[in-house]
Symmetry: C2
């Protein structure tokens, strides 16, 4: 069952309406511009699916390029010399499309659109989005291939004296060159004692001789995100750090072995925490958002299903140091396949 069918099952005869960016992209193919925040020449897009399966999107006239061929755009003015209240116009247009009994994601709906009576099916839609279609898997593979390039660039550029921002420039350039254009990228890029903070943005710090680099790269390619993390050492690091890294890698192998259909997300989480200690989740779904269902966290009763894409990222953190390794997997009929291709070794050659 493909995603539109799954959405119609959730809608159960009702009109479906959402302004959640991930739900909108999921049903329409829309790739929102995000790197520079909300555009003054646009408004949050709204998707409306009627009971027959007709998918319509309310979007600016400048943003129809990426839409799937069977999606009907209902547009308001984009970049223009004229003065138009685009947010109000978008809401009016969406209201005109909504009819009969309605289900949707109320917390995502703005203004007068939030005043319509509707049943909240946000949780059901999040669960439906967790299982990926084949074309979604292809898109995620492409994004991961780009993240792999970034990880390779970081590994080759990391050396004593290099600053985090210089590394960041090399890494981003490698990914954008591979993609042929600009990419939104969420990233942790920290060196030395900053690795103990789990993550953080690249800054002016320059690497010392025996420093660690912790780099978590999350590029978006088209509408889909990748995720990846590695920890790299250049010189000598204490045995404690080597042991921590070995523990994190062992935990990663253990969670991958634990992933299979019908397994509870919370049990996958627990399997990793026997081997390594870290103050964050063990993993999370990846797709149209950087963090989605299923969350691999303590106690989560959700059962894994084939087609779910999960980033697994156990780590180990001590006084003045931290390490983390991460791969993305897809749940198969009897286990999981690893989608990530980047190196995980503490040193370049491993």
């Amino acid at each position: 069952m493909r995603r539109l069918e799954r959405a119609l099952v959730v809608a159960d005869g009702r009109t479906l309406v959402s302004a959640d960016p991930a739900t909108v992209s999921w049903l329409t193919g829309h790739v929102p511009e995000i790197e520079w925040g909300p555009s003054p020449f646009s408004a949050p897009p709204v998707v409306v699916v009627d009971a027959s399966g007709l998918v319509r999107i309310v979007v600016s006239e400048d943003e129809t390029d990426s839409l799937s061929p069977d999606v009907e755009p209902v547009t308001f003015p984009g970049f223009a010399v004229e003065d138009v209240d685009r947010r109000s116009r978008a809401i009016e247009l969406a209201l005109s499309l909504v009819d009969g009994r309605v289900a949707g994601e109320p917390a995502s709906l703005p203004g007068a659109l939030a005043r319509i009576e509707l049943d909240d099916v946000g949780v059901e839609l999040q669960r439906a989005r967790a299982v990926k279609d084949r074309d979604e898997l292809d898109a995620i593979r492409s994004a991961i291939a780009i993240a792999d390039k970034g990880q390779a660039a970081a590994r080759s550029a990391f050396a004593p004296g290099v600053s985090e921002l210089e590394l960041w420039t090399s890494v981003r350039a490698a990914m954008e060159t591979a993609a042929g254009g600009r990419l939104p990228v969420l990233a942790d890029l920290v060196t030395g004692p900053r690795t103990a903070d789990v993550g953080g943005a690249p800054g002016e710090r320059r690497a010392d001789r025996d420093d660690l680099l912790l780099i978590d790269l999350v590029p978006r390619v088209g509408a889909y995100w990748a995720d990846s993390c590695a920890t790299v050492a250049h010189g000598d690091v204490p045995n404690l750090v080597r042991d921590g890294h070995a523990a994190a890698r062992a935990a990663l192998e253990t969670v991958k072995a634990a992933v299979a259909p019908g397994v509870r997300a919370g049990d996958v989480d627990a399997a990793a925490r026997v081997l390594a200690e870290y103050p964050h989740h063990t993993g999370h779904g990846v797709g149209l958002t950087v963090h989605e269902q299923p969350r691999i966290i303590p106690g989560n009763e959700q059962l894994l299903e084939p087609g779910m894409v999960i980033a697994l990222e156990p780590g180990c953190y001590g006084e003045g140091w931290g390490v983390r390794v991460e791969q993305v997997v897809v749940v198969t009929e009897d286990g999981c396949d690893v989608l990530s291709g980047h190196q995980l070794g503490l040193y370049s050659t491993t």
Copy 2:
């Protein structure tokens, strides 16, 4: 009168509520993370100002660092192992703060927050935001200094054979190095015949010997944006292009001379269009958004006031070529001051 006082004048005894990111930042100092889209560990912040002038912001517990000291944060969970519906929690918290008669920006309000009865004062708030306080001017100056660095880097790196993405990497690195960290940047970076399209994102195209580079750089530093544009030639360009560039520069000088308190925005626009022809606005306000009031467009009756910050960007476009020059000015008591410091000449030495 500073911005909180101006907001209270707009509120006129009513509680003020908004989830417009610019209004939220304006009243609280909040610097939203934007480069990677909406965070799954946050929700759109909401500002609530009561009639006494108490400013409260509903925001994730991870996002309180940039707030002004007199702003009271009301927080929901941020990055956490636990599963929390942050968007619904944010809406509940904001609802609990709203009391009595309410004014605000309804099109910005999500979910149940949009169901409260309120007077729409969006237009009044946009106008109030157009006049900048001294600290806002300082922030904009800092952002423009960063844009200047980017323009200088583009000018020095532009040469035959360089690709748009390579230029982009140099430019972004120059700005991020100057700022000491990552920056959101909106940019047009096009070469050769692509300049005829007015703008566009950097791609794989490599510059030919006699190409133009059109580069419009819009970095955000802290919560405030800069804006800047220049067009650079390397080899020989046709006289038509040189004349077009001279016309755009003359139009820029003319609009700067036209800017003064009490002048209609539409008249500033008309002054430029006598000298050069272009299919876009002549200018726009800059501040907490990349494009705000006052818009310098045909027919706009809005009167300029001291403290308004305006980007002015006449251009000239022909068959297979385009040029544009842009500076940011602040309206003074008797004219305007130029805030931009980047070179505008078609060749590096001018």
